[in-house]
């Protein structure tokens, strides 16, 4: 396959960025999108140019590190697929592909296609956990969890924290990410003790990070590589409102 690429290049957080055009002549349909970028980078090195910086690690769709905004869609055209699992057979010979970093105020660009997602870690630090020190646990089977609750909690917990939801949202809202964690823990009996304070603190931190508000367009869930459900946002809203009625901790 022959491809034209328009890739966002930006040397650091402060610098102005811009698109650069590249041509690739020998792309195999069996390559993953990132392997196509490996080929591009080898070509740039040959030409004495600096390769494109992009985040990637596991290349099997689970670490959440890869983060390319491809032809206007986070992780590209397929549903439920990360960039690393997107293969070139999803494109046509002669295509022009536009690749940008995630765009959100809360995710500043570090270089080229690499962004800073520390805001997500800080949201988790605010309350995305159950406060149980090592060694305190009772026998695992002494606490039955109905299968349906366990399955729903797992479906929410499958979030890989990639940030596609934020990138997809016109408001750069992080509601899907935050709600997935709040839902997981609210659905489980272990999460009940801190249920209210968790919702309040995580939402407060989300707002402090500069993520936008949710206007229920659903783009986040449609573009989520793990297809995290919008139900989580509804659940988070209930959790948050319930918490606000009953406490004034945050």
């Amino acid at each position: 396959m022959r491809l034209s690429l328009k890739v966002w290049r930006q040397s650091n957080k402060e610098a102005a960025g811009g698109f650069e055009d590249y041509k690739l002549d020998n792309v195999s349909p069996d390559m993953s999108f990132l392997e196509m970028f490996d080929v591009l980078n080898e070509q740039l090195i040959e030409e004495g140019k600096e390769p494109v910086a992009f985040d990637h690690d596991c290349r099997e769709g689970i670490c959440g590190m890869c983060s390319m905004y491809i032809n206007g869609r986070p992780h590209g055209p397929l549903r439920g697929v990360t960039t690393c699992q997107l293969h070139m057979r999803s494109f046509k010979d002669g295509d022009t592909i536009v690749v940008e970093p995630w765009r959100a105020q809360a995710f500043p660009v570090i270089k080229d296609l690499v962004v800073d997602r520390d805001a997500f870690d800080r949201v988790i630090s605010a309350g995305g956990f159950i406060s149980v020190n090592t060694g305190n646990a009772q026998d695992a089977n002494s606490l039955p969890v109905p299968k349906e609750a366990a399955d729903d909690a797992f479906a929410a917990a499958a979030c890989i924290g990639c940030g596609a939801c934020v990138a997809a949202c016109k408001n750069a809202s992080a509601m899907l990410f935050v709600s997935a964690k709040i839902s997981q823990l609210a659905l489980l009996p272990q999460g009940q003790a801190e249920r209210s304070i968790r919702a309040e603190k995580m939402v407060a931190q989300m707002d402090a990070e500069g993520f936008g508000a949710c206007t229920n367009t659903g783009a986040c869930s449609a573009e989520c590589p793990k297809e995290i459900s919008l139900e989580n946002i509804a659940r988070m809203n209930r959790e948050y409102i319930g918490a606000k009625f009953s406490s004034s901790a945050v």
Partner: protein, 662 residues
């Protein structure tokens, strides 16, 4: 054989069953006021690192944690699929601590330490309790209790799981505990930082030199103890199931500063991975061992049979694992399943375009599950099509994410045609040599999880890596570190102005400058590929003395070529992944040489180490217990120069036997 005087495993005295409990009650403690003044550096935030950092912070120590990824949640433990073992005996099928201990020692082909493995089995149950309490959503039965499945090399169901994403769920559990401590200020987290050296002062490890990968700055960090939880080195083969960033650099720097490297040649080749599709390939993807619970592995009985898999009739298929190993069938341990696949392909029975693949077939499982669903719903006249539909739904619930992944990568639908699989490098049993306390041969420097050599002998059983990572981090190091830190309470704050820090930082800087100055013609990536090819062909699934000697020569030449011809773009003063890669590849090249030296030294076959010269008439691994029942611990003496120290393995509680899964 006697153990080298340089190695003291510090195994507690007394009967095996009570060693750990007695030791735990007698190990020195550090009082809370002193803990606040003791700093611990944790490098790596996978299962071992995240659980250790969080737990040590909970205890009151001051912790700094480092990872090269953009978030601790991305460590490669996240990609573990199938499950985690624990001797809970929830299935009432005869499991016990002793059985898990026994299976692990036998699975490791009698090359692991009894005391460590028994401790691992003892704490395995606590891990499940801890994870459930932290909100890990394990799979459950309708009654609300935990579900289990089987893994290779065992005859009980002791594997806990969360679909095919167990590693993800466990890591996110450990990560949330870590972030809780970060939020409380008891752990300071350094993302996008790579450790590039350790700093020893007066014979003790006192800190690290790390590079901020965003700014390129070198930083000095001091600590009273340093924990390397930096994972395995499978990427020395270039193609492996490891993440692209997984590397040996931290462990290798420690090795060059005095930490002995244990059993470097013990590599796990996982039998069920998606086969290589072309030259462009950057990594291989695992299909979880849990698939062998239900999938049947076969090749055509006829050589060069080019018919599609689902058109080959039943009586023309060779279910070779069931044929050769009737007792364990498709659930033989990984080393055995991998070699059996290689044997069939080498003999000309491989499938797919490359002929380097075998089938993993779910048709029988689909039918079995479909019939079970029909029975459950009292339907007695179901059509074959209905049964297949229901069966596929059950298979989807159990393995859906794996099937999706297979489809995305290969473009084939595994619900309709059998999967093609082939062995690939997956895990490294070798690693830094540690004693019972998980301390390396450098005082104050510890190694946890896959980065150490300790628990899996010559072959790791499935679902045991997650168990070991969390055991080390949650339940072992929090106790054993007291044995050392109790004597450190008078040390006081360690200054990073000490000349040892200055010197180590200068050396790191000099190496980076050298890499950038060479400006040769070949990218780090191409050197990595060349190394991988040598390693896979000559130090992979089958090894022989002649090939290993060639490999050593070739790797030495490769190292010289690297240091004269590598081309690293950009500078050191900003975010530069090419420079990071060059640094890692340079260390992989040196490690590759040591792996071949170790494989050449071990004139026997055991577990994942298969020397072609040493096999039974049936092609099984032939151990030499008389001469090789030891851990090889290599001391780095200089370029191309290592000294071997041996730790004799003593089995007081297990009868050594030829490993049989027939």
């Amino acid at each position: 054989m006697a153990t080298s005087s340089r190695l003291d495993a510090k195994i507690p005295q007394g009967p095996l069953e009570s060693k750990w409990s007695k030791y735990r009650s007698s190990v020195p403690l550090v009082n809370p006021a002193n803990k606040r003044n003791l700093e611990i550096i944790v490098v790596g935030t996978g299962l071992a690192g995240a659980s250790a950092a969080a737990t040590l912070a909970e205890l009151g120590y001051k912790v700094k944690a480092f990872c090269f990824q953009d978030s601790p949640r991305r460590a490669h433990s996240i990609a573990a699929q199938g499950g985690i073992n624990a001797a809970k005996n929830y299935q009432n099928d005869g499991d016990s601590v002793y059985r898990l201990f026994y299976d692990t020692i036998k699975g490791g082909d009698y090359r692991a330490r009894e005391a460590n493995v028994h401790r691992l089995a003892e704490v395995s149950g606590n891990i499940i309790d801890q994870c459930v309490a932290a909100g890990v959503p394990f799979a459950r039965e309708y009654g609300g209790l935990l579900s289990n499945r089987s893994f290779g090399g065992t005859q009980v169901q002791r594997t806990f799981y969360a679909a095919g994403q167990t590693g993800q769920q466990l890591l996110l559990g450990a990560y949330s505990g870590l972030q809780r401590q970060v939020g409380m200020g008891t752990v300071k987290m350094y993302n996008r930082h790579e450790m590039l050296d350790i700093v020893n002062i007066d014979g003790k490890c006192r800190g690290i030199i790390a590079r901020n990968l965003i700014t390129g700055e070198l930083e000095r960090h001091a600590g009273h103890a340093v924990l390397l939880c930096t994972g395995g080195y499978g990427n020395v083969f270039y193609l492996s199931t490891n993440a692209m960033g997984s590397n040996v650099t931290a462990a290798w720097k420690a090795h060059k500063r005095g930490a002995f490297f244990g059993n470097p040649c013990f590599t796990q080749i996982h039998p069920t991975c998606i086969p290589v599709s072309g030259e462009h390939q950057s990594k291989l993807t695992l299909m979880s061992e849990s698939l062998r619970n239900d999938g049947r592995i076969w090749v055509p009985k006829k050589k060069d049979d080019n018919r599609p898999g689902n058109e080959i009739p039943e009586d023309e298929r060779d279910y070779y694992l069931e044929r050769r190993y009737p007792a364990f069938g498709n659930l033989v341990p990984r080393d055995i399943a991998s070699r059996a696949a290689k044997e069939r392909c080498d003999a000309g029975y491989g499938v797919g375009t490359s002929k380097l693949a075998v089938y993993l077939d779910f048709a029988a499982a689909v039918e079995r599950y479909g019939r079970a669903e029909a029975n459950k719903n009292n339907i007695h006249n179901a059509s074959d099509a209905d049964i297949i539909t229901w069966g596929k739904a059950v298979v989807k619930e159990k393995y859906g994410n794996l099937f999706d992944m297979y489809k995305q990568i290969t473009g084939e639908d595994p619900y309709e045609v059998p999967m093609r699989i082939y062995p690939a490098v997956h895990y490294t049993m070798g690693g830094l040599w540690v004693d019972y306390n998980l301390m390396t041969t450098v005082p104050g420097l510890y190694s946890l999880g896959e980065a150490n050599f300790s628990d899996h002998g010559a072959n790791r059983l499935g679902a045991s890596a997650l168990m070991q990572g969390l055991a080390d981090g949650y339940f072992v190091i929090p106790y054993t570190i007291g044995a050392y830190l109790a004597s450190e309470i008078r040390t006081g704050k360690i200054s990073t102005d000490h000349e040892a820090f200055v010197k180590a930082e200068a050396e790191v800087k000099e190496r980076i400058d050298t890499l950038l100055k060479i400006q040769g013609k070949t990218s780090p990536e191409l050197f990595h590929r060349r190394l991988g090819k040598i390693m896979w062909e000559k130090c992979g699934m089958a090894r022989n003395a002649e090939g290993l000697k060639e490999a050593i020569r070739e790797i030495r030449q490769l190292r010289k070529d690297f240091w004269s011809d590598v081309k690293v773009m950009g500078t050191a003063g900003y975010f530069n992944p090419e420079l990071d890669k060059a640094n890692r590849v340079a260390d992989f090249i040196e490690l590759g040489e040591l792996m071949c030296i170790d494989a050449l030294d071990r004139n026997e076959s055991c577990g994942g180490h298969f020397r072609e010269e040493y096999q039974t008439e049936e092609g099984e691994a032939l151990r030499d217990d008389e001469n090789y029942m030891y851990v090889s611990a290599w001391e780095h003496k200089g370029v191309e120069n290592w000294e071997l120290h041996k730790e004799e393995l003593i089995y007081d509680n297990i009868k050594i036997a030829q490993r049989s899964y027939k």
